[in-house]
Symmetry: C2
Subunit: 363 residues, 2 copies
């Protein structure tokens, strides 16, 4: 490696497209889903692996496998710690996390693969519980786990169980949902209270110092999405739903920023409209956390055409996992790529993406 701070970096005869002059080592923030993750993607992965599906920067890559089939494909490795917490576990998380990423492209998730990395010495009963939980979540989502792999590493070379899941879904003809499709005038819907997953995991770590009695919201959202698409269609055959995104790592703030940047629009949200359970708000207050940046695993953001928003909202409220849906904001033309929040006291502030790493290994 060259030690120069600028100019292309030579790696074994290859020229690295962009010099990674800043972080010389991987830090926890590179896995945060926030600014440092985006940096790693844009400076390292994207220049090397560049292709239209990856460049789109959505929750899943969309490809056309034949004249007839469009697939959404997404992958996530799950390293949540601890493995079990109130409302869920790594198994339910691994299934739902990937099902949701596929569903956010308007696809119908059908197949999952699962890759386990196990630490030597893990109790078989722990693995049994996790696999049973995966089975239940897959049954609820209606997906099949069609391929798997298990690797075991020596004691001290992992932390119990890590699970990768990759999902494949089919996108029906005519559907066009993606992060770049938000348009000025659209409404922003949030499917329920935020921060539950992050606080439930922190609570299981004993980091709160008290029991917050918060359950993780982990849930498969594909049936909710299917109902939303159906209801959108009946009010407008031309794709009433423009964007879907699940605000996981980096939270609602980071997800909205990604959309604003991809769509080259501004998103304005109202602080008062964002639902947060009292126990979550109290835990955030205590720990100095902002719920807007906390990971959710059973919520989605939908950006919907104005003509369809009432109908879609009613459908969401009538669906499991969408009962507490609310409109939290609007899409505007400017300032492009920014998220603004009208605060409870009447001022407006910029909401940025997550910068470092707030809660490592939350998913």
């Amino acid at each position: 490696m060259s030690n120069k701070e600028d100019g292309p970096t030579t790696i074994e005869g290859l020229v690295c497209p962009v010099p990674l002059t800043h972080n010389r080592k991987i830090v926890l923030g590179h896995g945060s889903g926030g600014k440092m993750s985006q940096d790693l993607i844009s400076r390292l992965f994207l220049p090397r692996f560049d292709n239209p599906a990856l460049r789109a920067g959505d929750d899943a890559g969309v490809v056309q496998t034949s004249e007839f089939d469009r697939l959404a494909i997404s992958t996530d490795s799950h390293v949540v710690w601890p493995l079990f917490f109130a409302g869920g576990d790594i198994g339910r998380l691994a299934v739902c996390g990937t099902v949701n990423d596929v569903a956010m492209m308007g696809a119908n998730p059908q197949y999952l693969t699962t890759g386990f990395i196990l630490e030597e010495g893990v109790e078989m009963s722990v693995l049994e519980r996790i696999v049973a939980s995966m089975q239940a979540a897959a049954a609820e989502a209606g997906v099949q786990i069609i391929a798997g792999d298990t690797k075991v590493v020596q004691k001290g070379k992992a932390d119990g169980v890590y699970i990768n899941t990759t999902g494949v879904g089919i996108i029906s003809p005519g559907i066009s949902i993606g992060g770049a499709c938000a348009r000025p005038g659209d409404s922003v819907i949030l499917s329920g209270p935020i921060g539950d997953h992050g606080i439930a995991v922190l609570c299981a770590r004993g980091e709160l110092g008290f029991n917050a009695e918060v359950l993780s919201d982990i849930a498969p959202l594909n049936h909710l999405v299917a109902a939303m698409i159906q209801s959108g269609k009946s009010s407008d055959p031309q794709n009433a739903i423009h964007v879907l995104r699940d605000p996981t790592r980096g939270g609602v703030a980071t997800a909205l920023n990604e959309i604003a940047r991809q769509s080259k629009v501004a998103i304005v949200i109202k602080e008062n409209s964002i639902p947060i359970r009292p126990a979550v708000a109290a835990a955030c207050e205590l720990l100095g956390l902002d719920a807007l940046y906390i990971a959710n695993e059973g919520k989605l953001l939908a950006i919907v055409k104005p003509e369809a928003v009432d109908r879609v909202l009613v459908t969401m409220r009538n669906s499991r996992y969408g009962e507490e849906s609310v409109i939290i904001g609007q899409v505007q033309e400017a300032p492009q790529g920014r998220v603004l929040m009208e605060t409870a006291i009447g001022s407006t502030r910029v909401v940025d993406v997550l910068a470092g790493e707030m809660l490592p290994r939350i998913c």
Copy 2:
């Protein structure tokens, strides 16, 4: 958990289909690709996740996504240690390993996803080298990496870099290749010398005590497979190639046993016909290893109709990564599910699957 040694085990209200009475903890052998891996699959994963694609037990799951498209989907997590070794690295391994698993179903691999689990503190230059190697391997194979994910765990909770890749390939109409398709009378072709990958990795660990000058054989075999299928077609439109399998973890011995069991046939191989480089043979001798059980990452076994075998063999020998192809045996009716070897001294012995774990973290 119940402590009973027999009867169904109750897990949080669910009944575990088969009591896992033997190993109460995960050991390295569960990741070997041999008998203990198969045990974990058949006792834990398969009863929970059961579906036709998974039950087939092939290198990739095959699904029909529409009237028109059949896909082969495969996943592998890579935990090889060390990350770099003669002839390859974890990046090339992660791309080729999954490309090959997809190709072994006769599919044309087109899309990969990649999930990184990084240990805090990994040098960015190490990750850059790995990603550059993945790019080169993907270009050689002609696949696109369309989705990715990066997680970072604390120092001491992983071992540098783990990489999951999942691959999706399209199976052309009329192709029917799978572990259950071997028929008595078929020939068994091996695409070249065995054991190179395993010995190259051991050498990089310094476990040999000398430099064996063996290069890992890691290579994408999809172009070789495409040429074989084309050549098989010209001699017989009805699927001249019955089975393809890459003998990775567990080696040639384990792969042939899987095929014999899936196809309910016997496979008889000739010890003299199996190519092994002198340096690999010497290293095996020294370490007391049997090359038949050592992982390969750029070799395949093909089980081919007698009428087509000459033509397929010529095609293989004219292809990159197939120049040293040889016929190593035949398929017979009995004894069902067994692999037999005619030894150099004229006797016949049973070749079983790998029992425990010979070389942990070889891939």
